[in-house]
Symmetry: C2
DNA sequence: CGCATTACTTGCATAAGGCAAGTGAAATTA
DNA sequence: TAATTTCACTTGCCTTATGCAAGTAATGCG
């Protein structure tokens, strides 16, 4: 676990992974404008480290050759259970802005939720799984 | 989740929680000597923050009035699923030194593992749930 | 009383993070 | 086709956090 924490033990890495996983973000710009306000140099650094660690890939996608598309690897999508538990914990114990009933529903159907997340990843489904919950006071 | 990460988004907080949860650490000194080598000022800072966040409590325990005993709150023990998933992920995808069969066994019996962790917490069982796995190359 | 132990704090050096502006290549517009 | 915009970063500078070694106050122990 200490090894894992050398990777995720910072404010941003897991948020990036979450955005890839449940918000279907793909581009640098999307992460940058993601509301949490990560600085561009830090974002570039984290993307590089996550790629080095084999958790995400960066590849050109579409016609626009400026655009870089980031995606989770299998190793990355395997973090879904961790993020789900963190989401559930946060909804129970902190003010997160995510509706508690929704999260409790997910807590009762963990396997189904994880299966759906994996399905979207496999199918490259561009539809976000969760919205931003930004309206209220907190963030998911 | 971003709120949770303001708390756990560092190298040490989750390790401290893990040590409380599965290694049954209680005292400042135990954390300090825990192999990972946290500096004492940082340790003091993290313990304070975790206490402020309501994840651990600090209380005098035993006769020795120098000794402070740290314990998880209910909010803290509720992080067990997060740590378990992180442990499983690490064992699958990183060199952790923890025997994979053991962890895969836990992955197949998540509920039983969590129930046992909670039981030990409730009973204040001073027996560690997992050893340190320090012998080889990595850490749990 | 004197020394050891426990849980810290302090001071200082280094590393990481944050902010604003800048760069270069590709696309879009005039 | 020239100018402008977009995109994915990089650079420089400053602030904050982390790490290390040493120190301190309150106990406990012989």
């Amino acid at each position: 676990m200490s090894i894992s924490l050398e990777l995720f033990g910072d404010r941003w890495s897991l948020l990036i992974i979450r955005d890839l996983m449940v918000r279907a973000y793909r581009t640098f710009k999307e992460f940058q404008q993601s509301g949490e306000g990560i600085a561009t140099n830090i974002l570039a650094d984290r993307l590089r480290k996550l790629e080095t660690a084999g958790i995400i890939t960066a590849e050109a996608e579409g016609q626009d050759r400026r655009r870089v598309g980031y995606r989770l690897t299998e190793k990355g999508i395997d973090l879904a259970p961790v993020l789900l538990e963190l989401l559930i914990w946060g909804a129970r114990h902190e003010q997160t802005g995510a509706p508690c009933e929704l999260i409790e529903g997910m807590a009762k159907n963990r396997e189904a939720v994880l299966a759906e997340v994996r399905r979207r990843w496999r199918d490259r489904d561009p539809e976000p799984f969760l919205p931003e919950f930004g309206g209220g006071d907190g963030q998911s």
